[in-house]
Structure formats: C-alpha cells, structure tokens
C-alpha cells in the first residue's frame, strides 16, 4: 500500500495542496501531478541538469528531491519565468537571439540555473558562465549559443 502524505507548497506563486506518494520525486510531481511539463527528466541520477528548478530561489535537481521535501517551500519552474504570455524574460529572449537552444529539451534546466546564477553574479566572465552551466548537459548546441546569450544579457544589465 503506497504511503501518501499531504503537502502544501507554492509553485510559480500559486498555492497547491496535494496528496503525494512519499517516494514520488519533485520532478515527477511537477510534471504529472501538476502537469507542469516544462521541467524535463534526462537522467534521474543528478548529472544532466534537465530537471533543474528553483526551491526557495536555489537551483536544485528536482529528480534528487522528493516531492514531500518541497512541503512549505516555494518552487519556481520554467513556466513561471516569462513575465506574461506575450513577453519573454531577458534570459529567454537572449537564448532565442543567440540560438542558445535547438531541441529545447535541456533549455528549461538551463534557464533555471541561469536565473540563480545571474542573480548571484550579474557580471560574469565567460569562464564563470561556463562553470555555472557545467552542470547542465546539452547535446545539441555545443554551449556556445548559451554562453553568448548569457554574456549578452549580463552585458545588457546595468547596475
């Protein structure tokens, strides 16, 4: 008999109260219980970074968290990034302009990583950008387009 618990959390500013099986990962909870399918699963062992979301503002691999551990927390996923249905966040816009995505599967994880990174490090060097995204695997772009996008966004931000 599967053990379930009730959890309350906020995702992208919206409050949810759900029953979850205790062994369900946060990634699966977001994707299947909340049908927020923008967070993707690539490896389920914490290497590829496709499942990266923000929990209380910090980037985590949602495949390595249990949903129940998000109880009482604020989670941000890719669906919560763009300011409106007609505008994109500057990071998203920059990725678009610099061809920082091709198949798009790793992209949500990359965006979430970058949101935290640019908050902590608004004016990074190229080396720092590469280190920051080294935990996000991309098999399409060779990363150059992503790096260019980040440097463009960071360069565009003034204090």
């Amino acid at each position: 008999m599967a053990e379930s618990r009730s959890i309350s959390l906020k995702v992208n500013g919206v409050s949810y109260h759900e029953d979850v099986e205790v062994r369900m990962t946060l990634a699966d909870f977001l994707r299947h219980s909340l049908e927020l399918t923008g967070t993707h699963i690539g490896c389920e062992h914490g290497v590829c970074g496709a499942c990266t979301v923000l929990v209380d503002g910090r980037s985590v691999r949602s495949c390595l968290m249990l949903a129940i551990q998000a109880n009482g927390r604020e989670v941000t996923t890719i669906e919560g990034v763009a300011p409106s249905p007609t505008e994109l966040h500057p990071i998203q816009q920059a990725l678009r302009e610099h061809h920082g995505l091709q198949c798009g599967f790793c992209t949500p994880g990359v965006v979430m990583t970058l949101l935290e990174f640019l908050k902590d490090c608004p004016n990074p060097t190229e080396e720092e950008v590469r280190v920051a995204i080294s935990g996000n695997l991309c098999r399409c772009t060779g990363y150059q387009g992503i790096v260019d996008a980040v440097l463009a966004v960071a360069g565009g931000k003034r204090a």
């Binding site: 599967a2 618990r5 691999r61 495949c63 249990l66 935290e116 080294s134």
Partner: protein
C-alpha cells in the same frame, strides 16, 4: 528509474531522529540526497525506512571557537562555500568545497552526508583527514567522538552503528597566516576527483615549520603523505621530492585507471597544492 516503496519519517528534532534510529529496522538517513537519491532512483538502495533530516534546524550551524571550527552535520555545502567564517578561518575548506560537483549539488548536499558517504573522491573527507577532524556521533545512549583517522571502517563505510548519527564535525584550525592549497584532477569540471591534494603549511620565512599533506581520491581513504618538509626551505625541488613520496601510497587499480596512473596524477596535485600553499603562507 523510480525509487522502491519506503516508509517516510520526517522528524523535527535530533531526539526524534535518534529515537527513530533506535527503533527502526533498515533505515537510511536522507540528508542532501545528492548521493542517496540516485541510489534510490536506480534501486541500488531499497531501505524500508527513510528518515529525512531536512527539517532539523539544530544541525545547520557553523561555529568558530578557540582554534576550532565546528560544523553541524546538516550544514549545506553551499552555506559552507559562502560562509565568511569558513573563508577566513579555514580557507582550505573553502577552496575544497568549491570543487564539489556543481552549484545544484552544493545547494542541497551537506557536510554530514558527504562524510558518511565516504566517497574516495570526496573533497570534504580529504579536508577532514587533512586537519585530523573529530566526528561527533550521537545515539539515544549519548554522544561519542571519533578521531577522523578511525572514522572509516572500510570503503565507503563509516564506523558508526545503525542506531547512531553523525551530528557535527570539529575541525582544528591552523594559525592565522597559514598557507593552504587544495588541488584536484577530474576529467571534467565537477566530476569526481581522480586525485586530490590538501596542503597546510606554516613557515618562519626561511623554512617550513609545520606541514601536512593529504592525498585523496586514489585510495578508499585519504592518506597522509610522509614527506620530509618540516625544517626545510621551500623550493621546486623540495616540492618535487615530496611529490615522489606518493609512490609509497596505496592506490586503487581498475580498468579505467591503474594505480600507477593514480599515483602519477597524485604527484602533480601534491606539487601544485604545495606551490599554492607556499605562495599563500605568511612568511614570518
């Protein structure tokens, strides 16, 4: 890859944890999850019970005392990385922690979890060995302290009982102005270290007065390098000579990396860490 079913417990206090450990069969402690969750997902671990430590507030501290830095087992690696106290009093740990995985790993990973997992490559394990840390363990019967050299029972196995939990680690810290250097070699940024070296030095300006070189990554446990450094003048030749002592170290041998190779790169890490440490040491 989904975890097998388990019973979930989320205690709020240390006493609750210890009580659970004392009564449950087949329980694993879940700290940062960066090592345990992959094993659960891959069903390499299928414990009956999971005790989630993430509600414990009381073990997240970083406390500077008299020549001692005490860190609670649930302190996140990220918080260690961004701690001014650590950076100033124990810069070796600061330098080492930044090599741990990636930002996402460190946001969740804990020092207690890393030490109990005892991965041969673990940076914090190497640092604990480097300063001769003391591991503080608790159970319902009380507390005990384990010198780090006695902490590992074998490969990736700490010498703690199933009803015990590591609650804190006490690190002796070196005098202000000491030289420190942590170097590691990994295939890619953030990968497991194939070899690492942690160096601590003191100097009177002419000679090295105190030195400790610890090599990690090449054997199940970190190893202290027996190299004659104290009382001698620092030079490239001295560093190279010290590095050669790696030939006497134990090193794992497998299809991917031979013991010879591991010792070879350990030498490089020792040299580089010594150079860095000597460059940083206050020379008077």
């Amino acid at each position: 890859m989904k975890p097998a079913p388990f019973k979930y417990h989320d205690p709020r206090t240390l006493d609750e944890v210890l009580s659970l450990l004392g009564s449950l069969e087949d329980a694993r402690l879940l700290a940062g999850g960066q090592s345990l969750m992959p094993m659960l997902n891959m069903r390499l671990a299928q414990p009956l019970n999971i005790i989630d430590l993430n509600r414990l507030e009381e073990l997240t501290y970083i406390r500077l005392g008299d020549e001692i830095l005490e860190i609670g087992a649930m302190a996140r690696q990220r918080d260690i990385e961004f701690s001014d106290v650590v950076r100033q009093a124990f810069p070796l740990m600061y330098e080492a922690v930044r090599h741990i995985g990636h930002r996402q790993t460190r946001n969740r990973g804990t020092i207690g979890g890393s030490l109990c997992h005892l991965d041969p490559s673990a940076e914090l394990v190497c640092v604990a060995a480097a300063v001769g840390a003391t591991v503080i363990v608790a159970s319902q019967s009380g507390r005990r302290e384990i010198p780090f050299a006695k902490f590992p029972a074998g490969l990736m196995t700490p010498s703690i009982e199933s009803n015990e939990m590591v609650i804190a680690i006490r690190f002796p810290i070196w005098k202000s102005g000491h030289g420190y250097g942590f170097e590691e070699f990994a295939r890619r940024h953030g990968d497991f270290a194939l070899a690492s070296a942690a160096v601590l030095l003191e100097s009177d300006g002419h000679r090295i007065t105190r030195a400790r070189v610890t090599v990690g990554g090449i054997a199940p446990q970190p190893q202290t390098l027996l190299a004659k450094l104290e009382g001698r003048s620092a030079s490239e030749a001295l560093f190279a000579e010290a590095a050669e002592s790696c030939d006497a170290l134990e090193a794992m041998n497998d299809l991917n990396y031979t013991s010879d190779y591991r010792r070879h790169i350990a030498k490089a890490m020792v040299k580089r860490a010594l150079r860095k440490a000597y460059g940083r040491v206050s020379k008077h």
